[in-house]
């Protein structure tokens, strides 16, 4: 029996970062059902209270996120409204850049988190289930971006005897290079042993044609295979709903809700050491526009699931939607900085105070009780 490929017990934890690209409308995902200003500002787009799933008396969950209700009730899902970053340009590029870098600083916060913890022994410490490396992982030691985990192998075209002959040479080695090769062969073996066609566990199901679902499914397979996965990044695109929002957004919300719920079910007990955090570069304007859509705003919503979060409640500051509480030109402000939400999660994933200073430099953290 091979041990976990990572060096220290904290490495058993995996952080999964889901980025909703395009500026997800937090007020549609998590509806302020008791706030009249919401209904006045969105006469055609507002969700009726009776159609939402009651959360805490002030908010209702979008009905398409119904699959997440169980996690909420189990205290395994925390929701933070009015969350986001300092960027006020309302530019996708700049807000994503800032939120992935974690400030005006080089590299991504996830990359710096992985660096700050020292070298990982696992060749699969960080993965992005995407064609290219997201900025959030920039600067990470040996992060891999791929769309199919089968890419982590010698490939079907390599000569059949090649791996065995190579292995033989590394077995002649002594010292660190031999250990590194052993870890790599073990990781390859574990990936190869993954039956990528096998049904998920605990009756979970993922949509075959949904790339977000397939990304989460593969993250689950990697975690279960004990390849030493510290962090994974999965994107869900298409949240830029300026025009006929409801037509566009519903499928995305369904994909988000069912995907996360399937992942949680699939992970089962391992969810205790796996945290999923969901973020977007900004929320959208409170008032709907003339084309049944919403424009770029400021505060959005963030979710944190699993990994021991103190969930089942709305966390952070919320100051309502009265005019004087809005930020010009009528946006929900960012009351809860994304770094204060990420910090307690990163702490649980092994970042000490010194590391945190490198992960989020030039920012006085006020971590949420999360």
């Amino acid at each position: 029996m091979l041990a976990n490929l990572s060096a220290n017990p904290d490495d058993k934890r995996t952080l999964v970062v889901v980025f909703l690209r395009g500026g997800a409308d937090g007020l549609t995902l998590v509806v302020p059902t008791e706030d009249d200003h919401y209904y006045k500002a969105r006469p055609r787009l507002a969700l009726k209270k009776k159609d939402t799933i009651a959360l805490d008396g002030n908010f209702g969950l979008n009905p398409h996120l119904a699959p997440l209700e169980a996690a909420w009730k189990d205290g395994d899902l925390a929701i933070i409204h009015a969350a986001g970053c300092e960027d006020t340009t309302r530019s996708h590029f700049e807000a994503q850049d800032l939120m992935e870098h974690g400030g005006f600083v080089a590299g991504g916060w996830l990359g710096r988190f992985l660096r700050a913890r020292g070298p990982s022994r696992s060749p699969l410490s960080a993965v992005a289930l995407s064609p290219t490396m997201p900025e959030v992982l920039s600067g990470a030691p040996s992060a891999a971006a791929f769309q199919r985990i089968e890419e982590f192998s010698f490939g079907k075209k390599s000569a059949p005897n090649f791996p065995a002959e190579l292995r033989r040479l590394y077995e002649k080695e002594t010292g660190a290079l031999r250990v590194a090769a052993e870890n790599t062969f073990a990781a390859i073996g574990r990936i190869e042993a993954i039956d990528t066609k096998a049904a998920p566990e605990n009756g979970a199901t993922y949509e075959e044609k949904d790339s977000f679902h397939q990304g989460l499914r593969q993250v689950a397979q990697l975690i279960r295979a004990d390849v030493g996965l510290d962090a994974a990044s999965v994107d869900l695109n298409g949240w830029d709903t300026h025009f006929t929002q409801n037509l566009v957004i519903d499928d995305n919300i369904k994909s988000l809700g069912s995907g996360l719920a399937s992942f949680r079910r699939d992970m089962g007990a391992r969810m205790a050491t796996t945290t999923v955090v969901v973020m977007s570069e900004f929320g959208r304007r409170l008032g709907e526009n003339s084309s049944l859509g919403t424009d770029h705003g400021r505060g959005g919503v963030m979710f944190a699931m699993g990994g021991g979060v103190r969930g089942g409640k709305m966390l952070g500051t919320w100051s309502g939607l009265t005019r004087e509480m809005l930020e010009d030109p009528g946006d929900l402000p960012v009351w809860n900085n994304y770094r204060d939400i990420l910090a307690p999660i990163l702490t649980r994933h092994g970042a000490n105070a010194e590391a945190m200073g490198k992960i989020f430099p030039d920012y006085a953290l006020k971590p949420l009780e999360l």
């Binding site: 340009t89 530019s91 590029f93 700049e94 850049d97 870098h101 005006f104 600083v105 080089a106 590299g107 991504g108 990359g111 710096r112 660096r115 070298p119 990982s120 022994r121 696992s122 060749p123 410490s125 490396m133 900025e135 920039s138 600067g139 990470a140 030691p141 040996s142 992060a143 891999a144 971006a145 982590f152 010698f154 490939g155 075209k157 390599s158 000569a159 059949p160 005897n161 090649f162 002959e165 190579l166 033989r168 040479l169 590394y170 002649k172 080695e173 660190a176 290079l177 031999r178 250990v179 590194a180 090769a181 870890n183 790599t184 990781a187 390859i188 490198k358």
Partner: protein, 516 residues
Amino acid sequence: MKPVSRREFLLTGAAAFAFSAVIFRSAQGWLADGQQYLGMGLAEPLNGKITPPPNDEIDPIAHTLNRLTFGPTPGEYSRVAKMGVAAYIDEQLAPESIENGRCNRALARFCDLWGEPLGEHYEEDDDALSPILRRVTTLRAIYSKQQLFEVMCEFWSDHFNIDPGKGDCRWSKPSDDHNVVRKHALGNFRDMLRASALSPAMLWYLDGHANEKRKPEDKANENYARELMELHTLGIHGGYSQQDVMEVARCLTGWTLRSKKKTGAIKSELFNLKKALSQPANWKPLNDRGEVYFQPQAHDGGAKTVLGQAIPAGLGEGDIERVIDIVATHPSTARFLATKLCKRFIADEPAESAVAAVAKKFTESKGDIKATLRTLFATPEFLSSAGGKMKRPFHYIVSALRVTNAQTDGDKPVLQFLEKMGQAPFRYPTPDGYPLEATAWHATLLWRWKFALALSNNQIGGTSIERAKLQRQLGGDTALMATVLNRRASAEEGDAFLKSGDGLALLLASPGFQRC
């Protein structure tokens, strides 16, 4: 007369716009042109009979090549065997004497860019410059004959690390590469440190540009001052205190630069004509951007004490010279740099005797980098360290391309392998630079093996090797193995070479080729 910026030119009229947009895209255009140009081949054809390394162990010739270069090309061992190791070291320490025309000519079209006034760079699109810089750096490492110079450029790029991903650095890092790193890589350390301290990219990267004292309550920004001592000179345990950090920061108040935008926002609107027309204020030229200047009104003019040395009040912009002198000549700086150089050229944990000898020379020579390196290469510890270091990913990839005499355009497919291994040029986020020690890179083996397979089978876009020709010219399997490994293959290696079904890939993936 003030030169006309591209942007002014751009806005002189609609017709001019159509024309100048072409010039604007010149950087990207050069890439495409370069591709054609490079298609002719940067790698020189192998000529004549090539004698591979004849010994079972890495001999002094092979060892010198392993360490002073990004890996030898097939004919290099023969050449150095003829001229002798001492002469080779002399040659590499005098890069200006090395004929490097083929590489220089091919890359000139990219590199002309760095010679332009810095302000012109700010006219480029956000992501125009960094990819060129990465590519040029990779191609030089592969094809330049001034190998030790390129190795030292890599060393100093890590030592004075700047990730162009931070704000304005995306426009100013190429100038830092040209005017700090490459200008002084084999020059004098004090000169390089001074150039780095006032480099627009460094002033931005470590927040020096925002280090001001205008009102009594203003506190200096300590970011650069701390890294100057912790990373660039004395080292973390070099004997400076928090008080010294604060005093150095005070000395450097007032130095700033003309930034792209005050907010640090970075999206260029150059190609958004609508936005440009709607905001006439943005029409002003950018070609004074990046200019470094001293603001006396933002300088703390009081007396300071740095590392026990008094700096009198009122020196103004003279403070920085005193600070640079104090830290550059501090004994801890000599030790810190000697340790890093020994880690690069000797071992991850170099012997104290070697560090002491190199530090002594550094001090005696007043920071002469050539003299310091010459001493290092003559230490018994250097001579006895053959094969004991693990190549970092960049070194690994470049050495594989060199030893196979590959033709490559150094473009994305190669870069993607480096990204997977976490060592693409200029992508290290924090100021400490890519780690020198092997432990940081142990998790990269599979991507090395996959690179070896892909290279051997010509599956890397923009890169090709002539495997059969190489083998024929070298004179068969034994010679090919010795050329790649820089020594004769062991019995096990020879056996695996034959049985693997892909001998060349096996050699490049083998433990012997991970080391140098």
